[in-house]
Chain length 203, copies 2
């Protein structure tokens, strides 16, 4: 006999509690909620998760999450393709888009250089950024990486790789609190930090 | 353009955030977590929810959640079928089972009488309880309903329906929680625990 009187319920609770921040008690509450709701609700939820996991694509140009080969931002002719904002991951794209302070394109690195987590430059889309700079009409690269040691290391690494007289390299203003992730920064601070970006130099 | 750069992601976030206690930010974190994990994890999660919702049964005898027509408690020959504990819902069965203090059967009402939520006696499995008392060798009914106005109303209603000389009707003790200080116990609970004091023994 299981604690839940049902193996079906126990399985659902176990799977739900593997999600981050969801313990057994919360998982049970969620499972019992689904049992009280119409069957179609559970079908819609399950299908939306499966569809997301199976059909999601990453933009060929900027590596942002996308429903098609090229994402909505990269294919939007109203965006300024002279400016590219380099970010760690897609949550940062969302965070910057919410500020409505930026009209350029993005380049999602897929992480930051971290010896501890053994993430090397080759694991990130840095080479592709260099390639984009040679192929696209990019005049400014904004480094919008987290204000952490790993973020700074990655910024310096990219700066050394891409610096040239024809390219303006900026970084978001350090209005972002040291140690904070971009996605948790409030819109006003983050928006201002983009508008008040400064020329990138070694220190 | 959606805030999430992807309709697939937006759908998943919307569906997840319909769950109780899950806001948009948490839903996004869960969806992105699934994207980072192996595809099979999402499949297992979705399947377990679908299976739960489609295959779950409720015990014919006690209305507890079950994987079969009769639940594991009702079909367990070692349980004492002379005692039936009446509870509001299946979570109460789990709570009582975890105490390992009870060896009888259960009867899950599926709610309590509540004029505000328009739950009438006919919406609950009260008639079936009366039927069980006539058909099964039940000698004691324990009313283990919540210590609220609705719970008390339901207890009184059932008591009036089932009382007879041959049936013992009891209710769980209500009083100061084990480990609680008297000064932090609410007045109503403390007052009742004094009125319903029991003989002191060393047990």
């Amino acid at each position: 006999m299981t604690e839940y009187s049902s193996l079906l319920l126990e399985n659902a609770v176990n799977e739900l509690s593997k999600l981050p921040g969801i313990g057994k008690k919360t998982a049970l509450r969620l499972a019992l909620h689904l049992l009280r709701e119409d069957k179609s609700r559970t079908e819609t939820l399950s299908r939306s998760l499966m569809m997301l996991r199976e059909k999601i694509m990453f933009c060929e140009r900027c590596h942002n999450i996308s429903d098609s080969a090229v994402c909505g931002i990269c294919s939007n002719l109203r965006r300024d393709e002279n400016v590219v904002c380099v970010v760690e991951d897609m949550r940062d794209v969302m965070a910057i888009e919410r500020t409505a302070s930026y009209n350029g394109l993005y380049h999602v690195l897929g992480g930051v250089i971290s010896p501890i987590e053994s993430i090397a430059p080759a694991d990130l889309y840095i080479d592709h950024l260099i390639q984009r700079i040679t192929q696209e009409p990019i005049r400014e690269v904004i480094l919008a990486l987290p204000a952490t040691i790993e973020g700074d290391t990655t910024s310096f690494y990219i700066y050394r790789k891409i610096k040239s007289d024809s390219l303006k390299i900026t970084t978001i203003a350090k209005g972002v609190a040291i140690g904070d992730a971009l996605e948790f920064t409030d819109e006003v601070t983050l928006g201002r930090s983009i508008q008040q970006r400064t020329l990138f130099d070694q220190g």
